[in-house]
């Protein structure tokens, strides 16, 4: 089956090789920033460069124990697969795995309300060991 070019739901969400279940949301972000230059009588930037990137990721889960097991400062890889809307996780169907290498847990707040499922969201920043290679990568199944 060819890729539907639509994606629905996350599966095989792991951190430090431990599976996180009950996942309701995942995000990956290259965290790019631009540095514009203008001077003299300029009214628009005359130079814009991508001077820094600060990749991030997050996962929201009903498995609060799994989230609470990832305290701030923990370092490992955060991995999640985004399913193709029609092809699911079949190979070559458009599903892809995102990996945030060297993902450092930033925070893991938990919240719960009366007669609602409690949820927790873990947020990650990432390091690059050479300062140049992007810690965020993707891979087609």
């Amino acid at each position: 089956m060819a890729s539907s070019k639509r994606s629905v739901n996350w599966t095989t969400v792991t951190y430090n090789s431990a599976t996180i279940t009950g996942v309701t949301a995942v995000s990956f972000d290259n965290g790019g920033s631009l540095l514009p230059f203008s001077g003299d009588g300029d009214k628009y930037p005359t130079t814009i460069i991508n001077d820094m990137n600060n990749p991030t990721a997050s996962v929201t889960t009903a498995d609060v124990a799994a989230a609470y097991a990832i305290p701030p400062g923990t370092r490992s890889s955060f991995v999640a697969t985004l399913n193709d809307a029609k092809g699911g996780v079949g190979a070559g169907n458009g599903a892809r795995t995102f990996t945030l290498a060297n993902a450092i847990a930033q925070n893991n707040p938990i919240s719960g309300s009366h007669r609602q499922y409690a949820t927790a969201t873990v947020t990650f920043l990432a390091e690059s060991s050479d300062g140049s290679t992007n810690p965020l990568s993707s891979s087609a199944l």
Binding site: S3, S132, S139
Partner: protein, 110 residues
């Protein structure tokens, strides 16, 4: 970069492709194109792709800490970990240089 393959029988360890690379027959899905075009080249079932500064870095999946340059802690910090060989169409095959295989992560191997 070199025009000579280090060893014609050796599989590359990574591939660098230009940002405009379209692949063969996978529309706009660059991940599928990279898998189809480079997994056989790298001898892996899947490949990992990351956006770099104007190009893409493609390695076997999972990447396991592979980086373009030697890491900050290493004596050769900032030097290329790969010898890049031009395939002739803007795609470069990368071969790990001596000492690069162990130079991953945030500190020397124990």
């Amino acid at each position: 970069m070199s025009d000579e393959t280090p060893d014609s029988d050796r599989k590359p360890d990574a591939v660098r492709i230009p940002s405009v690379y379209k692949g063969k027959g996978h529309g706009e899905d660059l991940d599928l194109a990279c898998k189809a075009d480079f997994a056989p080249v790298l001898g892996s079932k899947r490949v990992d792709r990351s956006n770099e500064d104007g190009w893409h870095f493609v390695t076997p999946f999972p990447r396991n800490g592979q980086t373009v340059y030697f890491p900050k802690w290493h004596d050769r910090a900032g030097a290329d970990r790969y010898e890049w060989v031009d395939r002739g169409d803007g795609v470069h095959y990368g071969y790990l240089v001596d000492g690069a295989a162990e130079a991953v992560g945030f500190g020397p191997p124990n």
